[in-house]
Symmetry: C2
Subunit: 226 residues, 2 copies
């Protein structure tokens, strides 16, 4: 066998193992917390040797950081990317709200929103894990605020709307729904969050009849682009 | 010494010790979680003997349950009771929103809202602790929904407002603010939550000029009662 291919094969296997470990870790952490993740526990669960796990992740903290990053990749894949397929402006903002609620309701992570659980667990524990969680959440909020601003730029939302305020309200509904669903199994909370999000976005929208009196949209309205 | 008084004194001392333990426990749990509460840990922190702690709380689970109940007492004392001093109807609903936000912002519990942290930690762990947390939160939501309905009964809020929906939105803002403050230290989130709560309540309110066209209030408006 070509030595280079042999090395490639080993790297690939290593990557596959790492991925397999992290796939299990994100679900465990979403239910029981990142502190519940131990290399011994994961080894048992995955029927792997502890030494193999140690080789993939040097320490518990490295495992926690890699788990947070893996969860962020899944979050982007499940929440952000599908919403980006919606037309720019208001449809995309609405798609972001919907896909965050769907992600929470479908339990992409077994314990509901990974980042709601991880934030609550680590917000009182300064250090790299907390910083990593905060970093991913800062990016998510920037996506949401950016979507509001984009919808303003497209002439879909009123220019005087405070983008940070609207993003705060929309994300709060998703948090409230995730909380009620996880604690009470109350799926109506998602309907409430959808209803509230729709009402806030509609309030902030430039109504069809009034659109001409606002700043002219820089681009054709989303509906005509498809 | 009168033997009865001696027993009374012992009971009183026992109560004082229990209270002292629980006062420490709620703060630790709000930062590090209820799972982080161990009898050994608390004994060290309070400079007490482990056996004394065992005498007060038989098991870790008993300690967790007592901690949740103690946190609920503090929550009622800090959030619910002061709001009940406000005049019935809309002023009391607004006072409930404000006092929940104040409680979270002032960090009555060192790690922010005790129940936000405890819910996130235990929602994936079925058992008596989870049920106890859910029980207290059910009561809190009933207080909030009740305040909306009372404000409708007083003729302050429109009768067609969905009380569960409005309560969901108001409580979501408090959760969103607590989250942002604990994770990012972002105190503006409380201003955002106040602004949003005020806007929702105003939207649901019967405007002065329109009050006569609605169902007549059963009691005199709150403002005239003081």
């Amino acid at each position: 066998m070509d030595p280079a291919r042999k090395v490639d094969g080993r790297v690939e296997r290593g990557e596959r193992t790492r991925r397999q470990i992290l796939d299990a870790a994100v679900h465990i952490a979403s239910v029981e917390g990142l502190e519940g993740l131990s290399i011994g526990r994961l080894a048992l669960k995955l029927d792997m040797s502890k030494s193999g796990l140690f080789a993939a992740f040097g320490s518990k903290q490295d495992l926690q950081l890699a788990t947070v990053d893996h969860a962020a990749d899944i979050f982007v894949e499940q929440v952000v990317r599908p919403a980006m397929l919606a037309p720019r402006g208001l449809p995309r903002l609405w798609a972001l709200c919907e896909s965050k609620l769907d992600y929470s309701q479908k339990e992409v992570f077994r314990g509901g929103c990974f980042f709601a659980a991880a934030s609550a667990e680590f917000d009182g524990r300064p250090g790299p894990v907390r910083e990593r969680i905060a970093g991913h959440m800062t990016k998510w909020l920037a996506v949401l605020v950016g979507a509001v601003q984009r919808a303003q730029g497209e002439g879909h939302l009123r220019p005087d709307v405070d983008a940070g305020q609207l993003a705060f309200e929309l994300d709060s509904y998703a948090m409230g729904a995730n909380w009620a669903f996880q604690l009470f199994g109350d799926a109506r909370a998602f309907d409430r969050a959808r209803k509230a999000s729709k009402a806030r976005i509609e309030e902030a929208a430039i109504r069809q009849g009034r659109r001409s009196s606002s700043r002219s949209p820089r681009r054709k309205p989303a509906a005509t682009r498809g």
